[in-house]
């Protein structure tokens, strides 16, 4: 049924191979995305010779990192049939708290990251608690908290920008300091987080339970799964990842932090997740797809600029990409169900 199974040899005769019962390694959606990205990269490489150079690809990957990172959390949430539209506002809060602390106290990298992650997790806790225990639809709750977080963020900014940021977060930036052996740290960290999440969703019992909760919450409860803490956890994880992504954004940004730091990112993240083949209805999704979705969106955006087309056109292509990606997913699901 799945292509990946056939290539696996049986290890022991009689006793079936462990891998055989694993959920398949990559989904059809991921294969399609890899194909589309490959085609785009080759096309762009042919049309604009500079596209396939390190100078172009590395910044692209750096720009992908924060979206994909938050996308990992968002994927977990959407798998449980939830959603979080407050991540843009949460970025604002975490980044302002972190950067003001850095400017004021000059704390070094690790504590600064931990602080940011902790603040993000706290915001996620608020969302998670209201969603899991308040029994209100996640989109409404997070619309509400988006307003609250924005208020909190603006209060921290205090009608000003944060100036003179230290270069602590340059390790996550686009520049030389942000790379080791030519690999951008922020992207590498994102890949590691994606791999961990991939492992978690694929191998950890509680990771598999997320799919169960999103697929059929009542059945999950009957099977003895503690649904509420599980849902709560996904929002806390997302919050923590927002905190980490905020560090990346500060690192990629200038020496000044402005209020607009998180504006509109929630939609970009959701776009990456759904392009990646995660079902907004819950029960199905992959973090690898999310990473690919984020890369696709950034490729389109960069590609439009590098082709010298009007930059406003990139949003049009993002819209088309969403329809194409989700559309093929819907059609594929439908034909699979039929057969």
């Amino acid at each position: 049924m799945r292509t990946t199974e056939k290539s696996r040899p049986q290890v022991t005769a009689g006793i079936p191979v462990a891998k055989k019962i694993l959920p398949s390694l990559v989904t059809g959606q991921e294969v399609v995305l890899i194909g589309i990205i490959a085609v785009l990269w080759i096309l762009l490489g042919l049309l604009t010779p500079a596209f396939l150079t390190a100078g172009s690809i590395l910044p692209l990957l750096v720009a992908v990192a924060p979206i994909a990172l938050i996308g990992v959390g968002m994927t977990l949430i959407i798998i449980t049939a939830g959603i979080d539209v407050s991540v843009g506002a949460a970025i604002m809060v975490t980044s302002v708290v972190t950067s003001q602390t850095m400017v004021a106290t000059g704390i070094p990298l690790i504590p600064a990251v931990l602080l940011s992650v902790a603040v993000g997790a706290l915001l996620g806790l608020v969302n998670g608690y209201l969603v899991a225990y308040g029994k209100i639809h996640a989109i409404i709750i997070t619309f509400g908290t988006a307003n609250l977080f924005q208020f909190i963020g603006l209060r921290f900014f205090g009608s000003s920008t944060v100036n003179g940021l230290p270069d602590t977060f340059d390790v996550f930036g686009r520049g030389e300091a942000g790379r080791t052996f030519g690999i951008p740290h922020s992207f590498a960290i994102t890949v590691i987080v994606v791999a961990l999440a991939w492992w978690y969703l694929r191998h950890a019992a509680s990771g598999r339970h997320l799919f169960a909760v999103g697929g059929n919450e009542t059945a999950a409860r009957l099977a003895g799964i503690k649904v509420k803490p599980l849902i709560l956890r996904t929002y806390v994880i997302t919050g923590a990842l927002v905190g980490l992504a905020a560090c990346f954004l500060i690192g990629q940004g200038t020496s000044t932090l402005e209020q607009s730091v998180g504006a509109g990112r929630e939609l970009a993240v959701i776009a990456a997740v759904v392009i990646g083949g995660t079902s907004i209805l819950g029960g199905r999704g992959t973090v690898l797809g999310t990473l690919l979705g984020a890369i696709l969106v950034q490729t389109v955006t960069s590609g439009v600029t590098q082709m010298g087309w009007p930059s406003q056109l990139s949003d049009f292509f993002v819209g088309v990409a969403i329809i194409a990606a989700v559309g093929t997913d819907i059609l594929r699901e439908r034909s699979r169900r039929k057969s």
Binding site: A50, P59, S159, G175, T254, T305, Q312
Partner: protein, 321 residues
């Protein structure tokens, strides 16, 4: 039914209870250094001139949110109302409404030319500003080579005017200079940086980038710095001094073309008081010993602070905003 409205009673404008003259200023957006610096200048003026200075801006650069604030200020019966409109055309009717309520109206930073505003407090002309940008850029580029512009909002009239001036000036005076691309990054530093990076990749011979607004200027400088192309690619832009200082210092930005924003705020407040006091502005005057050589053109009703101020690594330290 009487008492439901005061619209028919004769306007008793300017009857502030404190007796102090109230001057209100509505920026495009709160919390960005540019307007907060204007606010600082305005507050200084309020202290010096003995007026009350109100400053209230929307949380997003949104014409509708700005309109709500203007309405509330009309309701507060301020003596002078000065706006930096997000959308000049949409502000015109509101300014008319304010004037009908007996309020003196003006614009500052961005004009609403088709409105009843009595004065536009202009920092510098679009012509001068655009020219200062192209001149500083061409100076850094040695008058030759490819350059690109990273603008912000696609619909900002003043930015679009600067672009036209730059195009014209380069075509006329720097035949070796060539504008190869123009992109819009919104009011988003990170996006400006990402786009500048893409531009450098798309045009390997790129020698200059203009970051047109206060978000784009540091963004493009950061991109050049990150690409390790300091000295190869030169940037200029319209950034505020404190945000630009690190980049001017390391050479990723060659110059930032702006004006003394605090002085602009000061002049705005001062103009508001003059209007409230029903004074007429002279064709040329000094406000105090810091703000000199202000001109006023009675025909176009434009008050001009002066020539643009170019921040470089040498003078940027003097400005604390």
């Amino acid at each position: 039914l009487t008492g439901c409205t005061n619209k028919n009673s004769t306007a008793d404008s300017g009857s502030g209870d404190s007796g102090k003259t109230t001057v209100a200023f509505v920026p495009k957006l709160q919390g960005i250094p540019y307007f907060e610096a204007m606010n600082a200048g305005g507050q200084q003026a309020a202290e010096d001139l003995g007026i009350e200075w109100l400053y209230q801006g929307p949380t997003t650069a949104d014409a509708a949110a700005q309109a709500d604030i203007v309405r509330s200020l009309i309701q507060q019966k301020v003596d002078a109302l000065i706006v930096a409109p997000n959308d000049p055309d949409s502000m015109a009717p509101l300014l008319k409404q304010a004037q009908e309520a007996g309020i003196k109206v003006a614009t500052a930073d961005t004009d609403a030319p088709n409105s009843v505003r009595q004065v536009f407090v202009n920092q510098t002309t679009e012509e001068n500003h655009g020219k200062a940008l192209s001149e500083s850029l061409m100076k850094a580029m040695g008058g030759t080579g490819e350059f690109a512009i990273v603008s912000c909002s696609e619909t900002a009239a003043n930015l679009n005017a600067y672009i036209e001036v730059i195009k014209k000036d380069v075509a006329a005076n720097y035949p070796q200079g060539k504008l190869v691309d123009l992109v819009y990054a919104g009011e988003d530093q990170a996006k400006a940086a990402a786009m500048a990076t893409d531009l450098m990749n798309a045009h390997p011979n790129l020698k200059g980038i203009v970051g047109l607004c206060s978000a784009a200027a540091p963004g493009v400088a950061q991109a050049v710095k990150d690409a390790g192309k300091i000295g190869q690619v030169f940037t200029v832009g319209g950034g505020t001094p404190m945000a630009m200082a690190p980049y001017l210092k390391d050479g990723s930005s060659s110059a930032s073309v702006l004006w003394d924003v605090q002085n602009l705020g000061y002049l705005t407040a001062w103009t508001g008081k003059e209007l409230a006091d029903d004074k007429t502005l002279e064709p040329a005057f000094d406000v105090d010993d810091k703000i000199k050589g202000v001109t006023f053109d009675a025909e176009s009703k434009i008050e001009l602070l002066g020539p643009p101020l170019v921040f470089t690594k040498d003078n940027v330290q003097q400005f604390k905003y």
